[in-house]
């Protein structure tokens, strides 16, 4: 069968999307391929997929690499594949929503790539290029550093002020109370614990 090129219509063979059709959008590695149903047409969402989980058919669509979902649906319809594969075209209302997303989709696809690969180098760059990338740097600072500092400062400052005025007399009171309470509690605890055990043993033997 033909190779997995851009625009090749395939059937997903593994997983919960098995038995559904999809289109190859881009070749990522020797093992992975970017595919889409699109989700509104066949139920396969835009995702990365292992080549072994695809079975190519003889059909192929005329699509540019990483085409939007709306363009893919039109390409399906142009060849008449929707009838051959017995696919239902999405309703016009849904189609409008898909066409609106055309501008958003390429951004979504690009973002994860940028985040995944350059994360490690970015950390090094952030330290060096602080003035250049202001918005990206502010977010991690707020998450990481400010929260860490706020909590300890609040805890440290308040008790220091209170200790000077109030806590010194409190400590003396606490020390006096403890020895009085302990002897009173211990005997009270021991007595009830012993009684039910004996009662339970006796009850079992009797029965």
């Amino acid at each position: 069968m033909a190779a997995l090129e851009v625009g090749r219509v395939c059937m997903k063979v593994a997983g919960r999307e098995a038995g559904k059709y999809c289109v190859v959008l881009k070749k990522m590695d020797n093992t992975f391929v970017l595919i889409t149903g699109p989700k509104q047409l066949t139920g396969v969402k835009r995702r990365r997929c292992n080549v072994e989980h695809l079975e190519p058919t003889q059909y192929s669509l005329k699509i540019s690499a990483e085409a939007a979902d709306a363009a893919v649906i039109k390409a399906y319809d142009a060849i008449g594949l929707t009838k051959k594969l017995s696919l239902r075209l999405p309703s016009p209302e849904v189609m409008k929503e898909i066409e609106k997303k055309v501008k958003e989709i390429p951004k979504k696809v690009e973002k994860p790539k940028k985040e995944k690969k350059p994360e490690k180098p970015k950390k090094e760059e952030k330290k060096e290029e602080k003035p250049k990338e202001e918005p990206k740097e502010e977010k991690p600072k707020k998450k990481g550093i400010t929260i860490k500092f706020k909590i300890p400062t609040l805890r440290k400052k308040k008790p220091k002020e209170e200790k000077k005025v109030v806590k010194k007399p409190e400590k003396k009171e606490v020390v006096k109370k403890k020895p009085v309470k302990k002897p009173a509690k211990k005997p009270a605890k021991k007595k009830p614990t012993k009684k039910p055990k004996k009662a339970a043993k006796k009850g079992k033997k009797k029965k």
């Binding site: 069968m1 059937m11 593994a14 098995a18 038995g19 079975e55 079992k204």
Partner: protein, 92 residues
């Protein structure tokens, strides 16, 4: 003596200790056999070994894997079957 109905060995016998410290045998139904693939006969994953009454109490997603032929065929046989159908239907 046990009820004659329970004397058959088709029941599962379980010995339990009562709160009054006695040993008694409880008679229960046996569990069904492990679900197996319809083609190759391998035991299936993700299908719990419960009585049909208990299977009803589970959510549908917990009764079988969520894919075509889930709970009937193993994943490998399902793949081969789908591949065959694609190759046969689109030959001509």
């Amino acid at each position: 003596m046990v009820r004659p109905k329970l004397r058959s060995r088709s029941k599962r016998r379980k010995k339990t200790r009562t709160p009054g410290n006695r040993l008694i045998t409880q008679y229960k139904k046996r569990r069904p056999k492990i679900a197996k693939c319809g083609i190759c006969g391998k035991p299936l994953h993700g299908v719990p070994r419960l009585k049909p009454t208990d299977m009803r109490k589970l959510a549908k997603t917990k009764r079988r894997p969520e894919r075509p032929y889930g709970g009937n065929l193993c994943s490998r046989c399902m793949r081969e079957l789908l591949r065959k159908t694609v190759r046969d239907t689109f030959k001509s």
